[in-house]
């Protein structure tokens, strides 16, 4: 996988929570992890609102080529948090419940 740091992007793989498929993507270095998460979920068509019409909560997880994995701090910058070759995966908060039968 190629790094694109010199052009203002980092190339990483996006893993899709439901299909487990991955796609390569260039992520702008200047984004915060929170901004990147929002853009990633929109780009791959994940649900954007929850049952109460609030913005759907996601957190971004990363798996490093060395096998380590971690949840990324939403306030961190992509430039500091994601390295070339990382696999990133947005995961949702989901709330099953009683609702209306």
């Amino acid at each position: 996988m190629e790094a694109a740091q010199d052009t203002g992007y980092v190339t990483a793989s996006l893993r899709h929570f439901m299909t487990k498929e991955t796609a390569e993507a260039d992520l702008p270095l200047e984004l915060s992890v929170e901004e990147a998460t929002r853009e990633i979920t929109r780009a791959i068509g994940l649900p954007s609102v929850d049952m109460e019409n609030r913005q759907q909560i996601y957190e971004l997880f990363v798996r490093r080529p060395n096998g380590s994995a971690e949840r990324l701090n939403p306030a961190a910058r992509v430039a500091d948090a994601i390295a070339p070759g990382d696999i990133v995966e947005p995961l949702p908060e989901v709330i099953p419940g009683r609702g209306v039968a």
């Binding site: 299909t19 019409n53 039968a101």
Partner: protein
Amino acid sequence: MLDLDLLLRDATAGHEVRREPLPAHVAERLIADTHVSGVLAGVLPNDGAPIRVDAFALETDDGPARLRVEVGAGETSFLKLYSHAVLRDDAEVIVARLLQAKAIEKGTYTFTPASSTVVSPAGGRIRLRPCPRRPGRLPGGSLVERGVREPRACRHPAIVLPREQAQALVAQARASEVEVGASLVVETFLIEEPVPCRLGLRVLEVVELAHGTAGTETHLRITPEALAAVGSRETDGRRAGGLAHSHPFGSKLEPGTDPRFLSSEDKAVATGWFWQPYHLQLIVDPRFTDPEDAIAAYAWADAALVRVCVYLTES
């Protein structure tokens, strides 16, 4: 890909009440179902190679709207037609959201798919490469060898739930007065016996949801960390296969009412996140100790969520 809307009409007057975009994963669900149907029918190759979407169209010319989905692989293609009824649960979720937002009045509505009239906004600042759909290969497997004595002629996926796993779910539910949940790790296989639906699922492991997951009497908040913990256990032969959660409010419902239903919230979870043909939803009523009485199962059959039977096995 065709962008779809859902048209809601007043069931009595017939006039249009609302037009809402259908999420992108609705189309993906139909594509995944068409693919697996083609594989089960022996028309599409079961080799794990990428698939094509040769057609995804809305047909409205001769009666009620229907969706035409054609999936190809190699030299072959498989066509499946879906009536608008396949969107019933998606419609229920949309209506529930609109009611929550007070965007529509309580009432009775009919629904039908329609071509979107709005152009999707261009992508943001991320440059995303095309990603071929690669559903993977289904290994062959026997229901009998997995402990099923007499395979039944069901038209839904065959679900094998070892009693040990079922009892673990029931014990977890009975140990709490609030909703609790578990992720299901499953194996998928192409059933060797001659049954109507040859997609087989066996629950290999139930993983209690932790990492900050918290329940109340009526809801369960599952954190991203809990889902990540399950994802780390996946391999080619072990997939995250859906969720189980308890409905501990059975004693507060009208007498005779079965609490093992899927609520609108449950359907939002199933249609939004767990829509692959091999995904399950299990609901556990903690008033019962026997899994046969405590557990109800829901699975996807022809891309629609239906209550299904399970094989409780001793092995």
